[in-house]
């Protein structure tokens, strides 16, 4: 059996998730042994239009990006969204909270009208093309990336948690931030990261996006129990979970 061909593409992002792949270090040899990497701008110069698995990092923010990702979709048998920018739009979606022209003027100043700076509303990859699998996080977790890739190579549906961060936070024996009347997005955000943020006594910022079925109806009443408001909660959602 020939090895599956994998291509890695980046869109609007910081490339931090690709760096996480590079950071798997010695196991990168195992990875390269198990698959044929045919295109990966960050790590090699070759390019190829022939691939089975396309890994997309970054969100879709320009008309030409939309076109490019559509072409990738037609070529790939399996398309994976890699990292928060790709899975949920990530921090790039913050711009959707403002008037687009204002954003352009603010970022590019006088050059805002230049054609190569054309920018539209930020979208996650699944909002533009069908996505088969999502590898969550800002950045992704190396261990989870490796496990998901191995499962896919075996033809097995990879396990991706659909339970909240609280599960892993409790596993690490943390005291809940709410016990200190602080907000945390943990109860509605998908786990898989091992809850590093609440473990460092920060709140969960929501980089893995919402669980499939978050109990948003509970939020108002629960916030009130801690002298917090729904607006407090929404404010904290802006960073990673803007519309």
């Amino acid at each position: 059996m020939s090895k599956p061909r994998v291509a890695i593409f980046d869109f609007a992002c910081c490339e931090g998730c690709q760096l996480q792949i590079v950071n798997i270090e010695e196991e990168i040899i195992d990875l390269v042994g198990a698959v044929d990497v045919v295109e990966w701008r960050e790590a090699m110069s070759e390019q190829s239009h022939e691939y089975d698995i396309a890994i997309i990092e970054g969100s879709i923010t320009r008309p030409e990006d939309e076109h490019r990702v559509q072409i990738i979709r037609t070529r790939a048998k399996i398309l994976i969204a890699l990292g928060a920018c790709a899975t949920i739009g990530g921090v790039n979606k913050m711009k959707n909270n403002f008037d687009l022209n204002e954003v352009k003027r603010c970022v590019y100043g006088q050059d805002a009208g230049m054609p190569h700076l054309a920018t539209t509303t930020t979208r996650a990859v699944h909002e533009v093309v069908d996505v088969d699998y999502k590898i969550h996080g800002c950045p992704i977790e190396g261990e989870e990336f490796k496990r998901i890739i191995r499962d896919l190579l075996l033809g097995k549906t990879p396990f991706v948690p659909n339970y909240p961060v609280c599960v892993e936070c409790k596993e690490r024996e943390n005291v809940c931030r709410y016990e200190y009347n602080e907000i945390c997005l943990g109860p509605i955000i998908r786990a898989g990261c091992g809850a590093p943020c609440p473990t460092a006594q920060w709140r969960c910022f929501g980089c893995r996006g919402l669980v499939d079925n978050p109990n948003v109806d509970a939020a108002q009443e629960v916030m009130e129990q801690y002298n917090l408001t729904l607006d407090d909660l929404k404010q904290k959602m802006v960073l990673f979970n803007s519309k």
């Binding site: 042994g33 198990a34 599960v167 669980v211 629960v222």
Partner: protein, 346 residues
């Protein structure tokens, strides 16, 4: 049973000797503003005056993730059994009661060799509660004190501990307490007084019925407004499962190596409140509603598990779920009392 008394200074020397022995010693320690079980580096770090630990000692009895077997290409596999000797130091009576229940559950019907092998290598030194935690209700559940399961039981009588060595393992440990003297009548009186007080005191939430009545109470209330009233606010976050000493559900998963042939089969904690807990083959979820899952947990504690272990209620009143639940809905006493209010006991 041999009962002796050691001064607190002598006890400290005992703990130091224990740490120097070839066993792993895990004891209760302070972490930030709470307490946890963790590997003990010095006798000074041990805090037997603690109120409650965030997670129960279950994390050592049934680890969060444990390998079950290693598989290679083809059909061959090797079972993995963990069993390094370990001393658990400072287990409260309610947690001891939960361990006793798990010992029974994992040894009857299908004997679980992974659990039992590890368990047989663990020595439990229990201690009576000195400081009640804010949500403990062990007195309501009959678990404020405990009579069995431990190898050694310590009771703080002020300047000394009364030490009861209950098993051979416990008696062997008393060799590390050369200065212990036989407990005097006065010491034993003090010890009994502490225990009698705890049977009253550890009751921050008062269950309005005998625990033995719970199976019947639940049987009558499968349909009841309280399930939806509470579950409305439930995040399905499973915190109530994670912290509970009597939750023992796990999920089994395989992790393959890069050769895509060999790998390890693990089991890891699961929780019945999580949305996908009851999802079976074909993606069918037979407890799809939050209220079904919320109800299931309280049925499990109050009716299903008791049916397997001679009626013992699988809630030991540690109160951890009450503290851990962000939505403040997990308190079993509150739910059971609400059912009581609207049920004719008959």
């Amino acid at each position: 049973m041999s009962v002796s008394t050691v001064s607190k200074d002598q006890f400290k020397q005992f703990v130091e000797a224990l740490i120097r022995s070839d066993q792993r010693v895990v004891g209760v320690q302070q972490r930030n503003d709470r307490f946890v079980f963790d590997d003990l580096a010095t006798a000074d770090a041990l805090r037997l005056d603690y109120d409650v630990t965030i997670l129960s000692p279950r994390k050592y009895i049934l680890p969060q993730k444990e390998p079950l077997l290693q598989f290679a290409a083809g059909e061959s596999y090797t079972p993995v059994h963990e069993g390094a000797p370990m001393v658990l130091l400072g287990v409260h009576p309610y947690d001891m009661a939960s361990i006793n229940q798990m010992d029974q559950l994992f040894s009857q019907d299908e004997y679980d060799s992974h659990y039992m092998n590890r368990r047989q290598h663990i020595t439990v030194i229990a201690c009576d509660v000195v400081t009640p935690s804010e949500n403990v209700f062990a007195a309501s559940m009959g678990t404020a004190t405990v009579e069995k399961g431990y190898d050694m039981l310590l009771t703080d009588i002020g300047d000394a501990y009364v030490v009861q060595a209950a098993t051979d393992k416990g008696k062997a440990l008393t060799n590390l307490m050369p200065q212990a003297r036989p407990a005097s009548e006065a010491d034993l009186d003090k010890c009994r007084a502490v225990q009698e007080q705890n049977q009253q005191k550890l009751n921050q939430h008062v269950l309005e019925c005998k625990p033995s009545y719970l199976p019947k109470l639940l049987e009558k209330n499968y349909e009841h407004p309280v399930w939806e009233e509470k579950a409305r606010l439930c995040y399905s976050c499973g915190s109530c499962n994670q912290v509970c000493p009597t939750c023992y559900c796990f999920d089994v998963q395989d992790e393959v190596n890069w050769d895509l042939k060999s790998g390890t089969r693990y089991r890891a904690w699961d929780g019945c409140l999580l949305e996908d807990f009851a999802t079976v083959a074909g993606d069918h979820n037979f407890r799809k509603n939050r209220s079904d899952r919320f109800r299931h947990r309280l049925y499990r504690k109050g009716k299903y598990v008791p049916g397997k272990i001679d009626g013992q209620i699988a809630c030991v009143g540690c109160g951890r779920c009450i503290t851990a639940c962000t939505s403040n809905i997990a308190n079993p006493v509150d739910v059971y009392n609400q059912l009581m209010k609207r049920t004719d006991i008959g």
